[in-house]
Amino acid sequence: MSLYMKFMGIHLKGAMQYKISYLLTMLGQFLVSFNVFLGILFMFDRFHEVKSYRFSEVLLCYSIVLFSFSFAEMFMRGFDAFASTIGNGEFDRILLRPRNIILLVVSSKIDFTRFGRMIQAVIILIYGIRKSELVWGPARILTLLLMIAGGVVIFGCLFLVYASICFFTLEGLEFMNILTDGAREYGRYPFDVYGKAVMRFCTYLVPYTLFQYYPFQYLIGRTDRLYYLLYPLIGCLFMIPCLVLWRFGVRHYQSTGS
């Protein structure tokens, strides 16, 4: 972790070398984020209820998914640009460092303009919690924290899968974005509103429902099943196949000519 902070320092120093570019990007990101934020507000202004979920419930659900996504995205940024990391031979250098490869990839690209999005996610989360009309006891708070943690892990795993695929195709695959950005967009509603087929896909293939739908039912008081709050931890098992795929990719790394 301390090494990650050191890397952050060097990226920050680098970013400060191009002050104007940095400020403009930050401004752009902020405007885009603000735009999205307004869009969400207008949308919720029109539709008050979807499949028996109330406005406040959907808002809470969305804010949790958005927050975990933004958090994962901010730290896993290095995987997003992994195709170019492999393409320009930077990955060779990473393999020459005596540290964990995943940590080094993640710290190789840190994009501070993403802070804008993170701030937006925090605002919506606070707004969602205040609007939720729920009594926040310890069990609820724990559920919320586990949902966020589970979401971060699962989105993080998807970024890792995305990067692992780059070892074989040398290009990122756009379809992976359906699983990441798509899940962020569709995840604003608890997944049962999309019907059984989607529920199955989102449980057994990519375990979104384990950090979203199931614990959320407990969170908003639709069920008394306390054990639902542990489902995000089961979702974390998704890490195992992802890490196996990653290791397989590293072993098959071909490097680039020089």
């Binding site: 060097i10 120093k13 020459l96 005596p98 020089s258």
Partner: protein
Amino acid sequence: MIEVKHISKTFRVSRRSAGFSEAFKALFHRQYECIKALDDISFTIEDGEMVGYIGPNGAGKSSTIKVLSGILTPDQGQCNIDGRVPWKNRIEHVRDIGVVFGQRSQLWWDVPVIDSFELLRDIYRIAARTYKDNLEELVTLLNLEDIIRTPARQLSLGQRMRCEIAASLLHSPKILFLDEPTIGLDAVSKLAVREFILQRNKTHKTTVILTTHDMQDIESLTKRIILIGKGKILMDGSLEEIRKQVETSGQNADELSIDEIVASLYHKYQIS
């Protein structure tokens, strides 16, 4: 000690002819060709040795360096470096080696070189005392005082190369891999780099493995030369032995420059 036994590595390269229709066909049916980058490579290098590794472009020099430094996993064969297998014990292994790629920078582009050095200190967990001593020594020998506070992107190639070499020696590695360290340098910088490498080998007993196309590098630095072509090791011997080889093929080696000797070697083995 570096022991390499029967290492092979094959790459799959996709091939197609030029033209749009060919590109379209390749979308559905791609033809692959297997290229043997390394074909049954074996050699042994003792501690403190300096070895020149030569061969034409695409012969497998960089691939060998990448296998030895743990970047690539070979298809077959064994490699043992001071008791470690590079691609299996990656972390322990890379702590003990330094690698300079002449064509690629390891410095962080936008920050002063000293910041890169400090980050490397943290990555390698170099003790404060050792770091200070090593930095002092490297700065003096490579004459870095004036450039260490400049961002890497504003350095000239020669200045940058000196910083690259310093960066790969901060953690006092036992083995140093240099992949074309003098490429594109002017005469003064080349001489400075060569002089430094010689010194380093003498004072620290660092094993140096050097790939280059510059035969003056080889002449002034190494006693032993390994010649590789099309993935195979063709020769392993001293410069003198190479001269003799050329003489047996009917040319008078004394009259030839080292570049001509190597060219005739490439010609002899039909690898150019």
